[in-house]
């Protein structure tokens, strides 16, 4: 479904992503794990068109998207839940969801909004509230809900567990799993490697901009190096 081949991303002189290639197949949960600063967010931003790769090729649903503008990718079925939730703080909860469904019509949106509310009842209670007043967990739910509004084929999530209490992390991960079971393909970027690998099918390990390991999730959980570096021994 998503195929990334040999991308290189620079911030000025900093070579943040080095010759990275990976693939996500229809129906999978694939995780990209790595320490802070490894280049995970940079990779997601490059896929979604916010940053550009020097050379290489990115294709989505067999169509090259390496030079597509970011706003056009939503229409193709790609959704990106950015790091740090990035909800629109001054808009209401419901307006945030409407923005998520910006590319669709009102009728489709009102139906999808109900689905999102069913999935996240806490959000429904707060629908008229200014989104900036939500708690961190609620904001993450809103950010996830907002990304579902465009009925995406592939959702890329950048550290959805960041800064959340363990109960909420559990909840978010079980929602991701449910979404996947309902047919959405997921690319999950995480520092919380144990949680990510527990729901993923496959994983890639990223170290200072390079992919160093690729295996199915179970094998990565049992890999000694992964255990030492990412799972705390």
């Amino acid at each position: 479904m998503l195929k990334v081949e040999n991308i290189n991303v620079y911030y000025g002189a900093i070579h943040a992503v080095k010759n990275v290639s990976f693939e996500v197949a229809q129906g999978e949960i694939v995780t990209l794990i790595g320490a802070n600063g490894a280049g995970k967010s940079t990779i997601l931003k490059t896929v979604s068109g916010l940053l550009r790769s020097k050379g290489g090729r990115i294709s989505f649903l067999n169509e090259e998207i390496s030079s597509s503008e970011a706003y056009k990718l939503t229409q193709k079925g790609l959704s990106h839940v950015p790091e740090g939730r990035r909800i629109f703080q001054q808009l209401t909860v419901e307006e945030n969801l409407e923005m998520g469904g910006y590319i669709r019509n009102n009728r489709e949106n009102s139906r999808t909004i109900e689905d999102v509310y069913d999935r996240f009842p806490r959000i429904k209670e707060r629908r008229r509230q200014i989104a900036g007043t939500l708690s961190g967990g609620e904001q993450q739910m809103l950010s996830l809900g907002r990304s579902l509004m465009s009925a995406p084929r592939l959702v890329m999530m950048d550290e959805p567990s960041m800064g959340l209490a363990p109960v909420l992390v559990e909840q978010i991960f079980s929602i991701i799993k449910e979404l996947n079971e309902a047919g959405t393909t997921i690319l999950l970027v995480e520092q919380n490697a144990r949680m990510a690998l527990s729901i993923a099918h496959r994983g890639y390990v990223l170290e200072t901009g390079k992919i160093t390991l690729e295996a199915n999730a179970q094998a990565l959980l049992n890999n000694n190096e992964v255990k030492r570096a990412y799972l705390g021994g």
Binding site: S48, G49, L50, E69, A70, Y71, K72, T74, Q75, S79, H80, P82, R86, F88, Q89, Q90, L91, E95, E98, M99, G100, Y102, I103, G132, R146, S150
Partner: protein
């Protein structure tokens, strides 16, 4: 009665400031640029209406409509040609570019129409008397139409798809793109809207103060900018209230103190706001991102 009279005159010039201040504020909200060329759009609007009416004897409604369209297009072009290539540069380069555009517009106007003032014929002639005072129709039309425009604009930003996209882009343009919002179109729309409002302001201004000249946009623009800062730059209700407040402050100064002090009072307000509450009446704190 004097007070009421001064208040109404204050509302009249204040409505014009408000229309212009909205342009400053909307553009600042969306591209974080103080568009110093905005005041000169007023001047372009004034010359355009005057030219169409005096040279082509165009009916007023046609001249005004054509002027609004022309100013909107000009605003969009300025953004596309001068500001867009600098979107990723530092703010100072943008600011200097804006000042450059302002000078360019003034000089082109001087070239085309000379520096001599031209006389604009009021299109809302006649007057109504309330008590022993006379109010020109230009005054009442300015206030009434401006209020209607501001209400419509509020509804547009609050409820329409484009209005919501404008708010989303001004808050976080990267995330807005991830939602499928075409940021370039949203920015163009904002410039078109702001410049269109400046054109309307220009027509109202000229109907009450008939002289037009190439530099007329500077002072008017600067005062509207003060209004936008007073209200809280980036805030639309702030621009509206700020504009009306500046207009009333000017009118009261003229009536009770001295007409020579109006400019001093306006810029005094700017200094006080910047000292006491730089974010203005409706401004958000600057560090809104956590």
């Amino acid at each position: 009665m004097t007070l009421v009279y001064l208040m109404i005159n204050g509302l009249q010039i204040g409505s014009i400031y408000a229309l212009v201040a909205l342009g400053y504020s909307m553009v600042y909200g969306i591209v974080k640029l103080i568009n110093f060329a905005h005041g000169d759009i007023i001047m372009v609007g004034a010359y355009s209406t005057w030219y169409l009416m005096s040279r082509f004897s165009a009916p007023a409604w046609l001249a005004v409509t054509a002027t609004i369209v022309m100013c909107s297009v000009l605003g969009v072009l300025i953004e596309k040609i001068a500001y867009k290539p600098l979107r990723k540069s530092d703010r100072l380069s943008l600011l200097v570019t804006a000042i450059g555009i302002s000078l360019l517009l003034q000089n082109v106007a001087q070239l085309l129409f000379s520096a001599n003032p031209r006389m604009f014929t009021n299109i809302f002639t006649g007057s109504v008397s309330i008590g022993e005072r006379q109010f020109s129709n230009a005054t009442t039309v300015t206030i009434a139409v401006s209020i209607v425009i501001m209400l419509l604009l509020t509804l547009l930003v609050k409820h329409t798809r484009m209005g919501k996209a404008m708010r989303a882009v001004s808050e976080d343009y990267e995330t807005a793109q991830l939602m499928g919002i075409n940021v370039n179109n949203t920015i163009s729309f904002t410039f078109a809207l702001g410049s269109g409002l400046a054109a309307v302001g220009a027509v109202f201004y000229c109907c009450s103060y008939s002289q037009i000249q190439p530099t007329m946009g500077s002072m008017l623009g600067l005062k509207a900018f003060v209004a936008a800062v007073l209200g809280g730059i980036g805030s639309m209700p702030g621009a509206m209230i700020g504009g009306l407040c500046i207009g009333i402050a000017e009118s009261l100064t003229k009536g009770y103190i001295s007409s020579q002090l109006t400019d001093a009072v306006v810029f005094g307000i700017l200094i006080v706001v910047l000292l006491i509450k730089p974010s203005g009446m409706f401004g958000r704190r600057m560090n809104e991102k956590v």
